[in-house]
Amino acid sequence: MRITGAEALVRALEAEGVETVFGYPGAVLLPIYDALYDSKQIRHVLVRHEQGAAHAADGFARVSGKTGVVIATSGPGAANTVTGIANAYMDSIPIVVFTGQVAMNVVGTDAFQECDITGMTIPITKHNYLVKDAADLPEVIKEAFHIASTGRPGPVLVDVPVTTAKGEVDFRYPDSVSLRGYKPTYRGHAKQVKQAAQLIAKARKPLLYIGGGVTSSGAAKEVKELAELMQLPVTATLMGKGAFPEDHHLFVGMPGMHGAKYTNYAITETDLLVAVGVRFDDRVTGKLASFASKAKVVHVDIDPAEIGKNKPVDVPIVGDARNVLAAILAELRKSGAEPRTEAWWKVIDDWRRRYPLHYEHGDGSVLMPQHVIERVDALTAGRDRVVVTDVGQHQMWAAQYVKVRTPRTWVSSGGLGTMGFSLPAAIGAKAGRPDALVVDVVGDGSLQMTLQEMATAASHGIAVKLVLFNNGFLGMVRQWQDLFYGKRYSGTVLPQDTPDYVALAKAFGWHAERVDAPDALDGALGRAFDADGSALVECRVAREELVYPMVNPGGSIDEMLGGIPGGPVSEMLDDETLKEVWE
């Protein structure tokens, strides 16, 4: 049957099972929006800026495990998605971005609202397409969804000139794709798997280091089985939060720059680092030469380019985390391996007891940001919830104090560190998990980067709960100025009263309250969480609080500023109690 390219695009989305798209129309998109108007399956969420559409699709994908979809117009619309695409690329999130393009016969002439979006997004997409002919649309869209969601997931962009949308195609949606240059490896090499299992079986001080790859491959169950079988301590990166239950006794916190001291000590002392779905990011490793320098390293990742990129590896295993862990488990069970980590646990428990995360509570008159996070966590712990964060100090406090228990219930911009991510991502998360309570932890700087999306939430009835940390600073940058630039707060001071966030939220029809003392906090949070629609609780938190502990930029991770004095590990091992454990 001959249909238009625009109709084919909508039919293809329906065939992919797409039910929600985040978009913003424009002149060259008119044929597509006209076709979309007839779809009974697809709900279009009209954002207020295309960056918001990309972040919303990203948040949607993170919580649902499905591929997020964006539609943006040519030129500025397409360019506005770039930050969102880069964010999804860095965190390996599957989204497909459709951009309108000027007519093929004027491409390359600097036509009105033309920009070379495929050229611009080559470095930040897994792949992209310019579809010159309507006949190619079905196959391209099939490939786009396949590439975005398989292997190491990531964003794919499909640029659709208006002439393609208006062109005609004999529509038949392909059942499968065949790409000569794209065949991800899912099964780990049997010999390597066996070697990894042997190392795990004999290690005395092993550590399981997991990241976003565990979530995207759905390997949480296998991680838990492996950890429990061999009694392995587990550390999860910012991207890996939720891949292992953080209230589990085997969980030893988040590693790296703002990780707990005991976590970083464990990494420094481990004799076998089993890294799964992680990429040894600089915010995790600090100085590479001293990161897990006593350990043999097993690295499991679906992307061969990640293996050995930053840290030399003893046992590289390219494959899907779930498959590989299942194979390692099978090897361990077959050989009747038993845990040998009792002494190691004594050391870790001792560190955990002596160097917990810690902050000064004050005299009860000042709202401490860490306390706000603890209350948000406590008040929502029993509910089906998703915690979304923006980027900055509040993000690190949330990472430290929110106990994430299940996969896909933590949404945070990791690799790119995109301020302004959280509000649109929360809207996407709520669209992807309508039954969950979606709490967005956000700073005053971050919120102002994308706050127009408050209108999106209100007009679509997508309820998100914002907990705003207002300290009147661009806090994380100010923290570095405080520590490393002589407290010269250049460009980091924000007026705490402008805008009036409560009035602003109310202007969008939201429930809103301001809290400046600890005793009013629970009530305000409770009312916000129970409110029918979107809500904002503005917390006037201690202005100059710092995120601690903290690894000196470029320093070894066992030498941390702040918190309870301790470290480096080389000196601590002279400690009598530790000696006893090892002897």
Binding site: I122, H127, R180, G181, Y182, D303, P304, A305, G308
Partner: protein, 161 residues
């Protein structure tokens, strides 16, 4: 260290940009680049010469593999490849020195492809050292212009059964 990469790609628009921009993005300077179709019309071969240490280069070849349009990447072993480049030299050649220049060209099996009033254009093919030696000798007469194709290479048939 100089590496010769032979990259087999799908013959589609924009693929060359994807490949070369990857080198720029990762901070590598491409010394020479040659592209052309292969025995299979749907595929092209890109031969890239790049100066790099082994470890960072391995990262680039892995990243090349990740490009959807890239089918195969080989870092050719200098001892197990044949490589050639074609160069055109336009050399200053007043009538009284033409013979000398032609002689030099003949020694290297170069071909005179154009004769002007005051210049000769010589076509030469070969591996890098031979062409460098020719260039060196022609420099004495004054080289007006040089155009080169960039190196192309294939692995030797040593391991064929």
């Amino acid at each position: 260290m100089q590496h010769t990469l032979s990259v087999l790609v799908e013959n589609k628009p924009g693929v060359l940009t994807r490949v070369t921009s990857l080198f720029a993005r990762r901070g590598f300077n491409i010394d020479s680049l040659a592209v052309g179709p292969t025995e299979d019309p749907t595929l092209s071969r890109i031969t890239i010469v790049v100066n790099a240490e082994n470890t960072p280069l391995e990262q680039v070849t892995k990243q090349l593999h990740k490009l959807i349009n890239v089918i195969k990447v080989q870092d050719l072993d200098p001892g197990e490849m044949v490589d050639r480049e074609l160069v055109l030299f336009k050399v200053n050649a007043p009538p009284e020195r033409r013979h000398e220049i032609i002689e030099v060209a003949n020694v290297f099996r170069g071909k005179i492809v154009d004769v002007g009033k005051n210049s000769l254009t010589i076509e030469a093919t070969g591996a890098g050292d031979k062409l460098a030696a020719m260039e060196d000798l022609f420099r004495a007469y004054g080289i007006k212009e040089i155009a080169r194709t960039g190196k192309i290479a294939l692995s030797r048939g040593l391991r064929e059964q």
